[in-house]
């Protein structure tokens, strides 16, 4: 009986302890303070559905944040970032795999000082027998969805919604007068 109890305790404790998922990872460093390479198998889920039971078809078709429920320990990882250094999230990369079990490779952020855990930057994805694909399609999808914003420079300088907010609230968000004062003092 004690042996069974010990096994059960080990099972309970394992998801709580920090596990090492770095084996086999080919994740590229971003030189972040708390980054840890992590490659693991997980199911792609709609986070809001998972928590509250509000479940539209197809994980919300890319409109909702997605989670990765890790096969090894049932932990729900939150992928915040894709592999592009361009202020771009992970949903566009993972949405095609809603409900599927896939393999991902990237960087986990584990920072005790900020209570950051199970936060992830996904760099590549492998679905079934298919080859690994890079998680770097966000800007291409944005360009396809915004032909009216075509032009030079990064997407975030051309995005219509961002430009509209900055035109009315300024870069600092404190109004155009505050922007003018800041520019005068700093340029």
């Amino acid at each position: 009986m004690m042996r069974k109890l010990t096994c059960l305790l080990a099972l309970i404790a394992s998801p709580l302890a920090a596990q090492d998922f770095s084996e086999g990872s080919e994740a590229r460093s971003w030189n972040l303070y708390a980054e840890v390479p992590a490659r693991f198998e997980a199911k792609v889920v709609d986070v809001l559905c998972e928590l509250s039971g509000d479940c539209p078809d197809n994980c919300g078709d890319g409109a909702r944040q997605l989670g990765l429920i890790r096969t090894a320990d049932d932990v729900m990882v939150l992928p915040m970032k894709n592999s592009q250094p361009a202020f771009t999230g992970a949903v566009a990369e993972l949405a095609p795999f809603c409900g599927q079990v896939i393999e991902v490779d990237g960087l986990m952020i584990e920072d005790e000082d900020l209570n950051a855990r199970n936060i992830y930057l996904v760099q590549r994805i492998k679905a079934g027998e298919a080859d690994w694909i890079k998680a770097n399609t966000w800007t291409k999808k944005w360009a396809e969805a915004h032909p009216e914003a075509a032009g030079k420079g990064p997407w975030f300088r051309r995005d219509p919604r961002i430009k509209e907010v900055i035109a009315s609230e300024g870069y600092l968000g404190l109004g155009l007068e505050a922007d003018a004062t800041y520019a005068e003092e700093n340029f």
């Binding site: 909702r64 944040q65 202020f87 975030f156």
Partner: protein
């Protein structure tokens, strides 16, 4: 021992059950969670408020989750605001970038992360944290040099 095994088995079953929400009211800033947690742009004090407003817009529009940074330092991942469940690049969350708000909603916790489903933004205080006075703009290029 007689009671230990059933108790342990019920504990094992917990992660598989649906999370149960708790109604809460939180006052805090709508933040860009990636910059806050990753440190990619600097320390946590530099990636909030006016210094980071433009970058917060970029990240929110780019589909990075937004968070509600409460006065006690707790971060709640925002999954829905009123009727807008577009938590990846949604219009409502974009309009609140770097704003301090009081939100009423349901709180969920899973695997060390906090989540909130906001049923109502009770008050929107706009940007109240003039961090540009201490940090400039973060990143600096988020405020382009006037032509």
């Amino acid at each position: 021992m007689r009671y230990a095994l059933p108790l342990l088995l019920s504990s094992l079953a917990l992660p598989a059950t649906a999370a149960e929400g708790t109604r809460i009211q939180v006052t805090g800033e709508i933040i860009d969670t990636w910059c806050y947690y990753s440190g990619v742009m600097g320390g946590p004090d530099a990636v909030v408020g006016s210094a980071h407003h433009t970058c917060a817009l970029w990240c929110s529009a780019g589909g990075i989750p937004v968070g509600l940074l409460a006065e006690d330092g707790t971060v709640y991942m925002v999954l829905k605001i009123a009727q807008d469940a577009t938590s990846a690049s949604g219009d409502t969350q974009l309009s609140l970038a770097a704003h301090t708000v009081t939100a009423d909603g349901m709180f969920y916790e899973r695997d060390g992360l906090n989540y909130i489903v906001v049923s109502e933004v009770i008050s929107d205080m706009d940007i109240v944290n003039p961090t540009h006075e201490d940090y400039g703009t973060v990143p600096p290029f988020s405020f382009p040099e006037p032509e």
